[in-house]
Every structure is written in C-alpha cells, then in structure tokens.
C-alpha cells in the first residue's frame, strides 16, 4: 500500500501540531483491525430497496399535474381583471412595464445587492415591449373592423404621452368606486381609443386567439415563454390561483407543491428569509436573499476551514454514538 500521502508535521507551529498530527493519522491507511464489508452487495440491496420504495410511493401517491392556466380561461373567468391588465399595459403601469425592469426593459425595479447593481449591469437582454407585444400587435392581427381599425390608427398616431394619458385615465376610471372594475360602469371621459382596444383584446382572449398570437410572435418555432408568462403574471389571475394553493412568496410558497404533495422542502432556508425582516419589506429582497444564500452555501462548502463550526462535531459528541462499538473496544487512555 502506498503511503505517499503522509507529510512531516514538524514544520507547522507547535500550537497546531496536535491537530496536524491527528490529521496526518487520519490521512494514512487505517492501521487497525478490519471487518468484512461487501460493497457490491450493499449497492445491489440499496438499489432493490430504493427501487421498491419509489415504485411503491409512485403507485400509492402518484404525482401532481395541475393543468396550465390559459389566457382564454383568465379572460373568461375574470374579465374585469383582464381588462384592467390590458388598460395597465396601455398606461405603461403594468408590472412587466413599470416594476420588472431589466432584462426586459430599462424602467424601474432594478435591485441592488449592497453597492452592486448587478441587475442594471446585465442590461436589457430579453427585450419585451408590453404595449405592442401584448396589445397592439395581437389586435393588428385580427380581421379589420371599422371600429378597431379606427382605434388602432388613432392609437398609433398619438404621441406616447397622449397614449399613456388615455391609458392612465381609463385605468383610474376602471379602478374607481363607481365602476368597481366593470368596464360597462365606467363614467364617460377622455380615454381615446383605449376602451375599444381593451374590449377587443378581451373578446380576442375569450375566443382563444390571443395566447397563440403572443406566443407566436417569436416565429413558427418558439420554446421561449417569456412574453406569455409575463403577460399572464401582469394580471392577478395567476397569483390568485397560486396564493389559494399556498404557493405565494410570503407563504413559504417556494418550498410548497400544488395539492397536498411534498415540494422542494430543501428550499426551506431560501424561503425562510422572505418571511422575516429586513428582507420581507425590502425593495431589494430578491437580491439580498440570493446574496445571503450564496454566502451560506459557500460557508457549507468551506466548513472544513471555518474555525468553530468545524469543531462542532468535537464539542457535540454525536460521533461517540456513531462509533460507540469502536470506542468501547478502544477506551480513551488516561491523560
């Protein structure tokens, strides 16, 4: 057997010599007694036992598979939320336009990790133009009607400031107490072509055409669902479904699963930080929690080098239980 791994301990400081000597001993091939241990049998038995377990669990408990939500179902189930979302896209106040920021656009919501503005540095790499991608382009694909054509022409001819003014006024009117979200109850006002555009988009969505058009903007083949998911997430339909199943970020949702299945329980610590201050109410919560988890993961990786933590196994002697047969056979010498 080779012993090329052993190195002299004499070159280290006297204080460290004890642990260095112990480490050298642990590095050498075990000089003491041995026992028969059939690794291959252990492996085969493990595969058989675990195989029986996973097949049994799969047969008894199955697995969750809740159908994906559709834009059509959203528009049919909660038309008011859909119209409010469409109006917010035109007003430039939707989540995707005013909060997400990079990499989709350069407005708003750029989180910082302490002094590091990593989100901003990454830039706009996946551009999403919410007004056109979610509303104007899909409506332009519809067969022309005099009313819709006039509304689109009016929208396209207006300067951006006027567009946002119309959209904002209609959003506010929808949200007013009198309307209560219902487009039919909105008081008369200067909304420009916005009511026609949002009503047309609602009809398109309810008919099932909108989702395919938004997803198809990327071309014939498109495996990228960025636009579809961003649009769906601009409404409250998706979030309401998630919150009802305890999947919300402030409900430890990161580790939960649909129905009553176990989820990613290994995400417990990542989820935990979102439940407490200062992260809970911080505008930089995502960046701060990510940064903290990276530091903690690095800590786990480097435990062998972390004074104190690496000594815990010595101070809390669970190893006495694990190796109790060995320690019984080899009592500690008197010191």
């Amino acid at each position: 057997m080779t012993t090329e791994q052993t190195r002299p301990a004499g070159s280290r400081s006297p204080l460290r010599q004890h642990s260095v000597a112990a480490d050298d001993f642990a590095a050498r091939p075990w000089p003491g007694a041995g026992r028969e241990y059939d690794l291959v049998m252990e492996f085969v038995v493990a595969v058989l036992v675990v195989g029986a377990l996973v097949v049994g669990l799969a047969a008894v408990f199955s697995s969750p598979d809740e159908k994906s939500l559709t834009v059509k179902a959203w528009a049919q189930a909660t038309p008011n939320d859909f119209v409010a979302t469409a109006a917010s896209e035109l007003a430039g106040t939707s989540v995707s336009e005013s909060e997400l920021g990079r990499p989709y656009n350069s407005t708003g919501g750029n989180q910082k990790l302490g002094p590091l503005g990593l989100q901003k540095a990454a830039g706009v790499r996946i551009p999403v133009d919410s007004v056109n991608d979610f509303v104007i382009t899909p409506l332009s694909s519809l067969p022309a009607t005099p009313e819709l054509s006039a509304a689109l022409a009016s929208w396209k001819a207006a300067p951006a400031a006027q567009q946002q003014k119309w959209g904002g006024a209609y959003s506010d009117a929808l949200a007013s107490k009198a309307a209560g979200g219902n487009p039919a109850k909105v008081a008369a006002g200067d909304y420009g072509p916005v009511p026609v555009l949002t009503a047309s988009l609602l009809a398109m969505a309810q008919g099932g055409g909108l989702q395919a058009v938004i997803q198809g903007e990327g071309g014939f083949y498109n495996t990228d669902y960025t636009k579809s998911v961003l649009f769906l997430a601009d409404g409250t339909y998706l979030e309401d479904h998630a919150v009802a199943e305890h999947l919300g970020g402030d409900q430890w949702g990161m580790m939960n699963e649909t129905q009553s299945y176990p989820g990613q329980s290994w995400m417990w610590l990542y989820s935990f930080w979102y439940q407490i201050e200062p992260f809970k109410s911080s505008p930089n919560a995502d960046a701060l929690v990510w940064g903290l988890m990276m530091i903690l993961s690095l800590g786990l990786l480097l435990i062998p080098f972390l004074p104190g933590i690496r000594s815990l196994p010595r101070w809390i002697p669970i190893h006495r239980l694990i190796w109790r047969d060995y320690y019984r056979a080899h009592p500690r010498p008197q010191r």
Partner: protein, 56 residues
C-alpha cells in the same frame, strides 16, 4: 378518520394542510418529509449495525 388515513385513502390530490407557528408555515407533506429525515438520522445512529466477524 385521521389525517394519515385520509392521505392513504384518497392520495395527495386533495387540499393541503398547513401548520403555522409565528413566521413559520409548512405544509403537512413537507413536514412529514423533514420529519422522515430526522427519524432516519436518529435511527441510523442509534440502531445497532449487524455484527460481522472481526479479525486484525
């Protein structure tokens, strides 16, 4: 019928149960998985391992 019986009887496709304690909130299924980890760890270090012939 207890929770465990209910789970066994109808699978895990029903509405989830949650246990809350201060800022902590966990689904019953996740709690069971974590409890399983703890139980396995304790059993692994407490249960005697089958003895084999030992020779120097």
């Amino acid at each position: 019928m207890g929770r465990a019986d209910r789970l066994m009887a109808v699978g895990l496709d029903g509405k989830a149960h949650f246990i809350s304690w201060g800022p902590f909130q966990i689904s019953l299924a996740n709690l069971l998985v974590i409890a399983l980890i703890v139980v396995l760890f304790v059993l692994a270090i407490v249960l005697p391992f089958p003895k084999q012939r030992s020779r120097p």
